[in-house]
């Protein structure tokens, strides 16, 4: 009797990982097309404005790079934790806290022309993000509190903190009561990376993070401990790997990367501290981490893809009148299809006769 079965793979399948991603992208396109035709939009208009228009201009490509920078950076940090099964869901809040820390410096030293200001802001932002995540690490290691919930709660708290600061203590006194800070001086801003676009140095930081993350996960002992802890907590415990240390490293690294990304936003395209710091980079980066298969190199491609969806969404809003929710829907669909097609990585499809046990 012919049957279709899934058999667990015994050895790794590199080709399957790429195939899974490709299948996911196509499935997302098809599903999105179906969804939008149901809502009455022309399929070709949707696909064009979302996926082709961003490439049609230098500006579009610059925007993709601009958006990819923070996504890449945050996702690298998150993936370090995810591979150890440390689930940091609060990257958005850590980004905000990093941005706040950098802004405090930028505002406090406004007018100073020191080349040290920007690096100091980056350090402050990274530390602040790491510290914010560290709260969750402390809650997990000391109080056994689930980090999924604590990091998300902290993220919501960080948002309220931001709202409070830009409405009060950090508000521009001459800004006509708008909830935003002063515009940062030149010494506190990143210069443009590619002339004519808004892409800036945070992209370079993201790429550097990719290389560092790869080196850490593939070549260092501590990275090995984290990965083992994620694959088999029992084995890790037996080998004496400290679960608490993995939790701390996983969360601190993720928090630092998110904090740095926050610095990249306020010292980059925004140039100030305001209520709307990021279009959900923290949450999108979670998806980027998974889409990249939690692998440093895969994450680079996933970040570019996710950035394309963001930018495509902006174009689609203007030219095809698609609501902003379209971006969220595409992102969700992409991750869903990726998770589904990833089964091909661990399992193999077998078409054939049902095997029968024969005893000799």
């Amino acid at each position: 009797m012919r049957s279709l079965r899934l058999e667990p793979r015994t050895e790794g399948a590199q080709g399957a990982a790429v195939a899974a991603s490709v299948i996911a992208v196509f499935a997302t396109l098809i599903a999105g097309a179906v969804l939008f035709s149901l809502v009455g939009r022309s399929l070709s208009a949707v696909l064009y404005s979302f996926f082709l228009q961003p490439f049609a201009s230098w500006n579009g490509i610059g925007e993709i790079l601009l958006k990819a920078g923070p996504l890449l950076l945050i996702a690298q940090g998150l993936a370090v934790g995810y591979r150890a099964q440390v689930w940091n869901i609060g990257a958005e809040g850590q980004l905000i806290v990093g941005a706040i820390a950098a802004s405090v410096l930028a505002i406090g030293f406004d007018g100073a022309a020191s080349p040290l200001l920007l690096p100091a802001m980056m350090l402050a932002g990274g530390f602040a993000g790491a510290a914010w995540a560290g709260i969750a690490a402390l809650l997990r290691t000391r109080f056994n509190a689930n980090e999924i919930l604590t990091t998300f709660m902290l993220s919501s708290i960080a948002l309220q903190l931001l709202y409070y600061l830009v409405s009060g203590p950090l508000r521009d006194p001459m800004g006509m009561n708008f909830p935003q800070s002063i515009l940062f001086g030149d010494a506190a801003l990143f210069g443009p990376l590619i002339a004519g676009t808004r892409a800036n140095t945070s992209l370079l930081i993201g790429l550097a993070a990719a290389i560092i993350a790869w080196a850490f996960m593939e070549r260092s002992i501590q990275g090995f401990r984290l990965v083992v802890g994620g694959l088999s907590p029992g084995a890790a415990r037996y080998a004496g790997f400290s679960e608490a240390r993995s939790v701390w490293i996983g969360l601190l690294v993720g928090g630092a990367c998110a904090g740095l990304a926050g610095v990249g936003e306020v010292a980059g395209p925004l140039g100030m501290l305001q209520r709307n710091l990021s279009p959900g980079y923290g949450f999108a980066a979670i998806m980027v981490a998974f889409l990249g298969g939690l692998h440093p190199i895969g994450i680079v491609f996933a970040a570019l893809l996710m950035a394309l969806i963001y930018v495509g969404g902006d174009f689609a809003l203007v030219s095809a009148g698609l609501p902003n929710a379209t971006v969220t829907i595409f992102q969700g669909l992409l991750l869903i299809f990726y998770l589904a097609s990833s089964i091909l990585i661990s399992y193999r499809v077998v078409i054939g006769a049902r095997s029968v046990e024969v005893s000799a």
Binding site: L149, M153, L154, I157, Q160, A325, T328, L335
Partner: protein, 307 residues
């Protein structure tokens, strides 16, 4: 003063109801071993669908049913991922949750800025005219009472019936349950769908009963608080319900404090549910033994029928 008291206590029951429904659905799913983090998205989908359905049909009942079905459909996607494709439950929950938020925005867009008549308040047993206690306990809308009924029913089913025992077995030791002959995947599917339906009802309550409107961000983290409530209540429906009512009271604090003339930055009040969630979570989880005793053993673990 009495008016404030009535407002807080009565409003507490209503404010708690969305989280109550969502948490009841989630506890069933988690007792069966599945960690469903898409509650926020399912509630949002339910809220938008309910508003659309109630506006178009003029009936709250249609709104609630449509919401439940829509959220259940969303949870089916989640079930397919974690049961069929053996996907990581955390990732799948986040993905479906984000999809749910996006879908809700799409559904609700044409109806933003409009409003409908909220669900009518009842006069239970004709007792709502009693002083103080009357309007608080007997003058709420039907979903508040239905919520209480669900809590009692789910507590009874999970704790005292064979069905509840099977569900718990599936959540503690799915391999053993399968060996005895129970269809683990089918049971988990049913529990996930139930969880989705309940989350949809909870979200629907927000948009057609509590605040009779739809806006993006209406759910405002209540789905996540519902997930936290399940942990607070150590996976026991009655404790979870207690937590839900306490949170209902807290969410009213902002208005109550303002009416009492207390000056607190509004952002602190908005952050207070999350702060309190963290504190309580830490306090409850601190006793690792208690968590270990009550947490379904196989919660969050991938399962395959021939694994």
């Amino acid at each position: 003063m009495t008016a404030t008291l009535i407002f807080i206590l009565g409003g507490m029951l209503s404010a708690a109801t969305p989280m109550l429904f969502a948490a009841m659905g989630e506890v069933v799913a988690e007792r069966a071993g599945v960690l469903n983090l898409s509650v926020e998205g399912m509630m949002a989908t339910g809220a938008a669908t309910a508003f659309m359905a109630a506006t178009l049909s003029g009936s709250h009942l249609v709104g609630f049913l449509a919401a439940g079905l829509a959220a259940a459909a969303l949870s089916f996607i989640f079930a397919a991922l974690v049961l069929g494709f053996v996907a990581n439950q955390v990732a799948a929950g986040l993905a479906v949750g984000i999809l749910g938020l996006g879908v809700s925005a799409l559904i609700g867009k044409p109806f933003e800025g409009t409003t409908i008549a909220p669900l009518a308040k009842l006069d239970l047993f004709g007792l709502s005219l009693l002083p103080v206690i009357g309007p608080i306990v007997f003058g709420r809308d039907v979903m508040v009472y239905l919520g209480v009924a669900f809590v009692l029913a789910i507590a009874a089913v999970l704790g005292r019936t064979k069905l509840g025992l099977i569900i718990r077995a599936v959540g503690e030791a799915p391999g053993a349950a399968r060996d005895i002959g129970y269809p683990v995947l089918r049971i988990r599917l049913a529990c996930i769908l139930f969880g989705g339906f309940m989350a949809g009802l909870g979200g629907a309550y927000l948009s057609i009963a509590y605040t009779a409107l739809w806006a993006e961000g209406l759910v405002a983290g209540r789905g996540w608080i519902a997930v936290a409530l399940v942990v607070f209540g150590t996976w026991m429906p009655l404790r979870i319900a207690l937590g839900a009512y306490v949170f209902g009271a807290i969410s009213l604090m902002e208005l109550s404090l303002q009416s009492l003339g207390v000056q607190v930055p509004s952002q602190l009040l908005s952050a207070s549910p999350y702060l309190i969630t963290i504190v309580v979570l830490a306090a409850i989880s601190r006793d690792a033994t208690r968590i270990r005793l009550n947490r379904p053993l196989a919660l969050g673990q991938a399962y395959r029928n021939d694994g």
